[in-house]
């Protein structure tokens, strides 16, 4: 009998990384389903396409780095990145957009920084920003929600549009966005109209909004909120980051709204528009690129919330999660450096 030597603890009951990632993916399903229900099958194809690209690029780069491919693929982190890209790009965006974005996320943002755990930026969000800057037209032509669209593409038609890879003309979608099935997102419409001197109450009467918030988006956000709460319940994430994001966003929005309601939308609009819930629970909570201490995480989340509000209200882009997350990622090492929990026996003279 050979004696095994190992370091203590000899016992462990971990929730393995692969399991965590897998469960996060499952928790995103309700949101994905609602998104498909409101914006058509395109999203599903985008997600699948992104996942395929992610797996291929991950195995390729691991092979190039001479690291074990199987273990990298089995941690499911690439799939999660792919899912986030898939739901973030417009449902009917051309296929190459998703492929470029996902490959960039996996190869450049994640693996070239040293792989899982070493990347400074959230891969999905970095990829999104690259796409947004490189292909602004494709990235901003979102499909109209099925409920208000004159015509919505069906399963195969969506696939055909995506694979055709042709640019959908969206030159006029900024105005009202009825050219069939693409239009600007509600937040985009909002900012365009605001810049033209309309007041909120008028804008909200447009068909893109169902009174208070963007049509369809409310339910999508609600579904992601549900998924997020599920993750909290399953202890896949801790509450600190999400609470920071939502708290800061609500407070900022409430102040702005109370101060000048004509040009500032309500907190509800902010919370249930665009990528708010997806961002607060699925994107900002990426542990690799966030701060690590509890206090640091609340601040990290608050920075995201504040930046989202500022960019949405005063910046040049309609939605801001990608930028906000990337900027907050930059602050994470600093937060970790300055915000440390008080170690047992330090400070507070044993009162």
């Amino acid at each position: 009998m050979a004696l095994n030597i190992a370091s203590s603890p000899h016992m462990s009951k971990p929730l393995r990384t692969s399991t965590v990632m897998q469960r996060v993916l499952l928790c995103a399903l309700p949101g994905l389903a609602v998104q498909i229900a409101f914006f058509g099958w395109g999203t599903l194809f985008q997600v699948l396409l992104a996942m395929l690209t992610a797996l291929i690029s991950e195995s390729a780069i691991m092979k190039l780095r001479a690291r074990p491919v199987a273990s990298a693929l089995s941690d499911n982190s690439a799939l999660l990145t792919a899912l986030l890209i898939g739901v973030a790009v417009p449902p009917l965006a051309p296929w190459w957009l998703t492929v470029i974005g996902t490959a960039f996320a996996i190869i450049i943002v994640k693996q070239l920084y040293g792989g899982l755990g070493n990347n400074l930026f959230n891969p999905a969000m970095a990829a999104y920003v690259v796409l947004l800057i490189a292909f602004p037209v494709q990235m901003t032509s979102w499909v109209a929600p099925i409920s208000i669209a004159e015509h919505s593409p069906q399963l195969l038609e969506s696939l055909r549009i995506i694979l055709a890879g042709t640019q959908i003309s969206v030159a006029d979608t900024f105005q009202q966005g009825i050219d069939g099935f693409t239009m600007a997102t509600p937040l985009d419409t909002l900012r365009t109209d605001l810049s033209q001197g309309h007041v909120i109450s008028d804008i909200l009467q447009k068909s893109a909004f169902n009174g208070v918030v963007g049509a369809g988006w409310f339910w999508v956000n609600l579904a992601y909120l549900f998924g997020g709460l599920l993750m909290l319940k399953m202890r896949l994430i801790r509450w600190h980051i999400s609470a920071g994001v939502l708290g800061a966003l609500s407070i900022c929005a409430a102040i702005g709204w109370m101060w000048e309601p004509a040009t500032h939308v309500s907190p509800l609009m902010h919370l249930f528009s665009g990528a708010t819930m997806l961002g607060a629970f699925f994107i900002a909570t990426d542990p690799v690129t966030a701060a690590t201490s509890n206090k640091g995480r609340v601040i990290f989340g608050a920075i995201i919330g504040l930046l989202v509000y500022l960019i949405r209200s005063y910046g040049g882009y309609p939605d801001a999660f990608a930028f906000a997350v990337l900027l907050a990622n930059l602050t994470a090492p600093l937060l970790d450096y300055y915000i440390k929990p008080r170690t047992y026996g330090h400070g507070r003279a044993s009162s």
């Binding site: 009998m1 050979a2 004696l3 095994n4 030597i5 190992a6 370091s7 203590s8 603890p9 000899h10 016992m11 462990s12 009951k13 971990p14 929730l15 393995r16 990384t17 399991t19 965590v20 273990s71 941690d75 982190s77 792989g115 899982l116 755990g117 070493n118 801790r238 542990p287 690799v288 966030a290 690590t292 201490s293 509890n294 995480r297 970790d336 440390k340 929990p341 008080r342 170690t343 047992y344 026996g345 330090h346 507070r348 003279a349 044993s350 009162s351």
Partner: protein, 791 residues
């Protein structure tokens, strides 16, 4: 809020972090504590012997159960006793019960099976004074039985006033149930032990902390306390929630009092002392029964053992014996963990003893605890930080420990890590975090030790420099004084007296050289020493030069010895010639050889006087000599050392080339070249010095004029130079010629017979010149000597 109020309030504070591992205590806590048959061999580690303790037994002694093996007056002394009667077969390094299993000094006792005991002297604790109690506990060798093995008698004599005594019966580690069973079965004895501890430290409150998964133990302790008149009013049993690691000393204090032990200090500073229930039990045994700590309760459990349970095991019982007795299941891979699954260590060797702190032997089935899987990348999920009882940031520590950035890891308070293993328990990437911390901590410890040593070295170095400086100044002052005295005495017959003494020495040496060539070198060395001494006498007081001559003599002896050592390594040819007469004549021959080698070396380079290195060295020497005449002696000593060094440096090559064949001399000469140059430089320096110190000599004498100057120099200086030349001659010959020739040459040289040199016969032209120069010097010296004698 003071401690008493806190205890009165009856509140519990939550433990920071912590985890809930599967308890698994039911495996072993169902049966009463049993005994196993005695082992045949016992291993009692004696780590303090050779450090602060002395052995009181020796190999071959028969010892009885409970007989002490060591003694010491040291404060940290932890007594060791024989656990059974038997014969001491060895006291030797043996694998230790330690994660490294590095060997440690161990007393190996072969049990005779009789288990005869020394008589124990029982006593009533109440009647003993504090000193007597402490002495009994110290003699019994009681150490913290929770695992730390810190001598208990130190903790029982705290410097600060103790308000609160906590008795730790928490036993939070999974699988372990030794304290549980002990409390259930021996609550009264534990309480008696607590009474003794209380008698010693006089705490105002006593809290016995037990986890809520040990209800029976808590009940037993409660009823035992109720029966103790002394403890009833101040002691209480506090049941705390089951959570790992509540049983850690710092964590337990936090739970009971809400206070934190400041980093780097001990609980006594808060007025708190924590003792383990097992320790209390052992203290009672020691004080009341006079029985030393020679056995303890050990939980032996795990899926690979059939009879899980608790056992009284004598300290020193080999783990392998326990495994054998309890029917270890056959398995290809086994793991023997000492301690619990969270903090215990896997033994690399099962033939190690049970120690005073060994509370559990865990022998799990494969995959019973966890199946080993590869460490993956940290995803910074922060779960580790959530469970850390010390509120550290384990993932940051991990990054820094892995990158070996230990100062950064220290900035994250690595030293406050208690290695409880909670972080690794929850890590989703299955990183062995604690392993990284231990390596980092060990490295930091080493760094600190090195820093301390460096500081000490610096202090010692500076002290030495200061001392040397002081000595130098003193010497200079003395030399100045002496120089003045000599100046005054220059016209007296002092000069004659010195000269006469030197002449006598020279004459004696010559006589010896002619009559007995074999004794030549000894004579030469003695003469040299004497000459030096004489010279020194003339310059300085007797105290210093006596020492110097001793040094010189020692050097001569050392050289002889060394030469002898190297000679024995060389070819048989030279060995046979060396072996011929008695021991001292042999040595003398070698010494002679050495001396001649030096002369040769010196001479080889003498003609080539444009050698820059030599010149430089010589000038340096001159500069030094300029100040005082007396310094010459020191310079000579330095020269001797330098020569020795050079010889040593070239020794190896010389040895290889030392076969008696004359052809190889040239080869030998090459590596010696440098040494020879130095020697030559020194010779020149001395010549110059001689010239300078002589009133007749001109101070502007140059190096090339050295021989000429020497002619003009007075008898004394010339003789010194001659002595040096001869000394050098000895050294040079070591690298070359065979022994017959050496002795011959030596005698001839001493005889001042300069007609033919046997060295020159075989040697190159260079060597001949060298010999000639050396001989010339010797001749000159002799001539002057003669003149001296005549006058």
């Amino acid at each position: 809020m003071n401690l008493i109020d806190i205890i009165e309030q009856n509140t519990l504070w939550p433990l920071t972090g912590g985890i809930h591992p599967a308890e698994m205590k039911h495996l072993s806590n169902q049966t009463t504590i049993a005994r196993l048959p005695l082992a045949k061999t016992f291993y009692i580690p004696l780590p303090q012997v050779g450090d602060s303790a002395l052995l009181v037994v020796k190999v071959g002694d028969r010892v009885l159960k409970g007989q002490p093996l060591t003694k010491s007056a040291g404060a940290m002394y932890l007594a060791a006793h024989a656990p059974t009667s038997g014969l001491i077969t060895a006291i030797t390094p043996h694998a230790s019960n330690h994660p490294s299993a590095l060997p440690e000094l161990t007393c190996i006792i072969e049990a005779d099976g009789k288990d005869e005991s020394v008589p124990y002297h029982s006593a009533a604790a109440q009647e003993l004074s504090k000193e007597e109690l402490i002495a009994r506990i110290r003699e019994a060798g009681i150490a913290g039985m929770g695992g730390a093995m810190f001598p208990s008698h130190i903790k029982l004599r705290p410097a600060a006033k103790i308000e609160l005594l906590i008795i730790n019966g928490v036993e939070c580690e999974p699988y372990i149930s030794s304290d549980d069973r002990l409390m259930r079965e021996h609550a009264a004895n534990i309480v008696a032990g607590i009474e003794i501890i209380q008698q010693l430290i006089g705490a105002r409150r006593i809290v016995i902390a037990i986890e809520d998964n040990k209800a029976e133990a808590a009940a037993a302790m409660t009823s035992a306390i109720a029966q103790s008149a002394a403890l009833k009013p101040i002691a209480l049993v506090r049941v705390i929630p089951t959570k790992y690691p509540s049983g850690g000393e710092k964590q337990l204090i936090q739970i009971i009092t809400g206070k934190e032990v400041p980093s780097g200090s001990i609980p006594a500073q808060l007025g708190i002392v924590v003792h383990n229930v097992g320790t209390a039990y052992a203290i009672r045994d020691a004080v009341v029964e006079g029985k030393p700590l020679i056995e303890r309760v050990v939980t032996v459990t795990g899926g690979n053992i059939e009879q899980n349970g608790n056992y009284w095991l004598p300290i020193g019982t080999p783990v392998s014996h326990v495994l054998q007795q309890l029917k270890l299941r056959k398995d290809k891979q086994a793991q023997v963990i000492v301690g619990g699954p969270m903090m215990g260590y896997a033994l690399p060797d099962a033939n190690v003893p049970v120690l005073k702190g060994t509370n559990c032997l865990l022998i799990p089935k494969r995959n019973e605890l966890t199946h080993a899987s590869a460490e993956r990348a940290c995803i910074r999920c922060g779960e580790c930080a959530q469970v850390c009882p010390a509120s550290l940031l384990p993932q940051q520590l991990y990054w820094h420990a892995k990158a070996e950035e230990y100062d950064k890891a220290n900035a994250f308070n690595l030293q406050d890590c208690i290695e409880c293993g909670c972080c690794a328990f929850v890590c989703p990437s299955e990183i062995p975090l604690v392993k990284y911390y231990r390596v980092a901590k060990a490295a930091i410890r080493k760094d600190r030790a090195e820093k301390v040593q460096a500081e000490q070295a610096k202090i010692r170095f500076e002290a030495r420099i200061a001392r040397l400086e002081q000595e130098k100044q003193e010497r200079e002052a003395k030399a100045k004084e002496a120089a003045e005295r000599r100046k005054a005495a220059m016209n007296n017959d002092d000069k004659d007296a010195v000269a006469a003494a030197l002449a006598r020495v020279q004459a004696k040496k010559q006589a010896q050289a002619t009559t007995a060539p074999s004794n030549d070198a000894i004579a030469a060395a003695v003469a040299r020493a004497k000459a030096k001494k004489q010279q020194a006498i003339s310059a300085t007081d007797t105290a210093t030069d006596d020492k110097k001559s001793q040094v010189a003599a020692a050097i001569a002896r050392a050289k002889a010895k060394k030469a002898q050592a190297s000679a024995s390594d060389t070819s048989a040819a030279s060995a046979s010639t060396l072996d011929t007469p008695a021991q001292d004549s042999k040595q003398a021959q070698i010494a002679a050889a050495v001396a001649r080698a030096k002369a040769k070396k010196a001479a080889q380079t003498a003609p080539a006087q444009n050698n820059e290195v030599a010149d430089k060295l010589a000038t340096d020497g001159v500069e030094q000599i300029n100040s005082t005449n007396d310094k010459a002696a020191r310079v000579a000593a330095a020269v001797a050392r330098a020569k020795a060094k050079k010889t040593a440096a070239t020794e190896s090559s010389v040895e290889s080339a030392e076969a008696p064949s004359t052809d190889q001399k040239a080869q030998v000469a090459a590596p010696d070249d440098k040494a020879a140059r130095v020697a030559a430089a020194v010779a020149r320096a001395k010549a110059k010095k001689a010239a300078q110190t002589d009133e007749q000599a001109a101070s502007e004498t140059t190096l090339t004029e050295a021989p000429a100057t020497q002619e003009k120099a007075d008898e004394k200086q010339a003789k010194i130079a001659a002595a040096i030349a001869k000394a050098k001659a000895k050294k040079a010959v070591l690298s070359g010629s065979d022994d017959a020739e050496q002795t011959e040459a030596m005698s001839k040289q001493a005889d001042d017979n300069s007609e033919s040199s046997s060295v020159s016969a075989a040697d190159a032209k260079k060597a001949r010149i060298a010999a000639a120069v050396a001989k010339a010097k010797a001749k000159k010296a002799a001539e002057q000597d003669n003149q001296e004698n005549q006058s």
